[in-house]
Amino acid sequence: AMAREHLLLDPAIRDWVVIPMVIMLVLVALGRNYVNQLIKSTPVITEESLGELRHKQVLQQSQRLRMNGRFLNDAAFNMRKSYMIRKKTGILREKVPGAANPMSNPMNMVDMMKGNIVYMLPNFAMMAFVGYFFSGFVCLKIPFPLPSNHFKLMMQRGVDLTSLDVSYVSSLSWYFLVTFGMNGIMRLIMGGDGEFDDAKMMQMQMGMGMGGAQQMGFNAEAAYKNEKEALGIAKHQWVADSAEKQLLGARYPEESSGEAIDLSNFSTSS
């Protein structure tokens, strides 16, 4: 019968499988972090990378203009907008390089390969280790019920019981769970230093493996084009009037139909 009752798992599983796996994965991730730092080559500052820096700064400037332009008066905003996108001499109309072909930069490739190897090797090794030593038994129970029984093949590899609830999973599933959660744990331990996002790396790996497509470098040309269009349609609404309205509250004078201002009552003494 479909077991709706709880299975009582041997506490030895918790002591010798669940916890050691977590410890092992955390230690490996830490070690990987330090190895990365050791073998990372210092970034070389080239003319090309300086140019790229400048393009990124220009884009930031334009974005800032769109975001914060409402704090400046119309003339100032329009002047800057024109500086960015006017015909022929606007900054965003400059000819800039398109996506940099990463294959052409050997240092980049070597760096990527180093990163990949450091990442893939321990993963494979650990997966094999877990699959070999920790197979054939139920490791733990997931607290939420999974919708269908099809997950059984994936989550309960090695445990061939058709009547077993899908929530009970094998150690390999626990391995994957911890690996994907490693980013968060690392950020806690390393204190925000973790630029190493395992889940993202895995996605990148799979993307590369499947499509064989190279990674795009920073595509200045496309970014400039997008920014130019966005700035072109940006509307400007100076918030200074709303600031005065907020300060004066109900006393803010309404637009009236042309009655003459009586300046004789306006006191110019302070």
């Binding site: 820096l53 200074a240 600031a243 005065e244 042309g258 302070s270």
Partner: protein, 302 residues
């Protein structure tokens, strides 16, 4: 983590009897907030140096070196630099200290050489670029100072401090329009800063003319929006002056289109109200029963 002003207050209150842990934390916060207090550093560096460990020691050496330069003690700074050079022989950070020491002795050409060398290795070194600007400022060479600032800002347009510096340079040369441009950039970078809005408003006010007076008033209003009137007397007085001058400048309204005339009249109406409001605010703040004069003055100078 206590704020730096609290820490300094408690240091002053302890009057020479602060504990070593308190001193360590004080110096660390000074480093973090980049506040220059050579007096504090100089009085206490020995005790803190003995107590400090690990990589913080080198940060402390840098801090002591800069304090020595601030105090004019070039020899002591030299000793610190020698120690740092032994530990970090090729560091650009120590190189910057070497340049600063040259500046302090008045050897500006030598300092420039040091900085040019450092920039060859890393042309995007912001700290060294700023030091070059400082050298020209110390030499009084405004032309080159402006050139250097322009080069810096072309490469790093989001450097608010540099925009402010350039603005001040233009003001010293009485180029108010250019200064206004610089402070506008600063506002773009920091739109919620009351001080930046006030500064921009002051430049508009200096430029003069009805439209600029109205601009000034509006920026003062934005400044007051970000920092309430009782803490922002500068902007409150600014509103008063700007509204005054705007009202008196209505004489140059001769040949305007109908629309422009209408908007001008609306501005004048807002003008009147703003002036009334500012006077009320000031009267309330100066009311002796609710605010003592001492409190008002101390708020004004804070």
């Amino acid at each position: 983590m206590e704020s730096i002003s609290n820490l300094i207050e408690s240091y002053d209150a302890a009057d020479g009897k602060s504990s070593i842990t308190a001193l360590k934390e004080l110096l660390k916060e000074l480093r973090r907030s980049k506040l220059r207090r050579p007096d504090i550093v100089f009085d206490n560096w020995m005790r803190v140096l003995n107590a400090e460990s690990g990589s913080e020691v080198w940060n402390l050496y840098e801090q002591i070196c800069i304090a020595a330069l601030d105090n004019g003690d070039s020899n002591f700074a030299n000793e610190c630099i020698t120690i740092l050079l032994k530990k970090f022989p090729n560091s650009s950070r120590v190189g910057r200290l070497v340049g600063m020491q040259n500046e302090q002795c008045g050897k500006y050409e030598a300092a420039l050489e040091v900085y040019t060398d450092l920039l060859k290795k890393n042309p995007a070194n912001l700290m060294v670029l700023k030091r070059k600007v400082c050298v020209f400022k110390a030499m009084g060479d405004t032309k080159r100072q402006i050139e250097e600032l322009n080069a810096l800002l072309t490469q790093f347009p989001s450097e608010a401090a540099s925009w402010l510096e350039l603005g001040e340079v233009f003001l010293s040369l009485s180029d108010n329009a250019a200064a206004a441009h610089c402070f506008e950039e600063a506002v773009l970078l920091n739109p919620v800063s009351a001080a930046y809005h006030s500064r921009l408003a002051e430049v508009y006010y200096t430029l003069g003319g009805f439209d600029n007076f109205v601009l000034a008033r509006k920026h003062y209003a934005m400044s007051l929006q970000n920092q309430a009137a009782q803490h922002n007397l500068r902007a409150l007085y600014g509103v008063l002056y700007a509204t005054n001058s705007a009202a008196q400048a209505t004489t140059d309204a001769a040949n305007l289109s109908v629309d422009a005339k209408k908007s001008r009249e609306q501005e004048l109406r807002v003008n009147t109200e703003m002036q009334r409001w500012a006077k009320e605010q000031l009267a309330e703040l100066a009311n002796p029963t609710t605010n003592s004069t001492l409190e008002l003055v101390s708020r004004a100078v804070m």
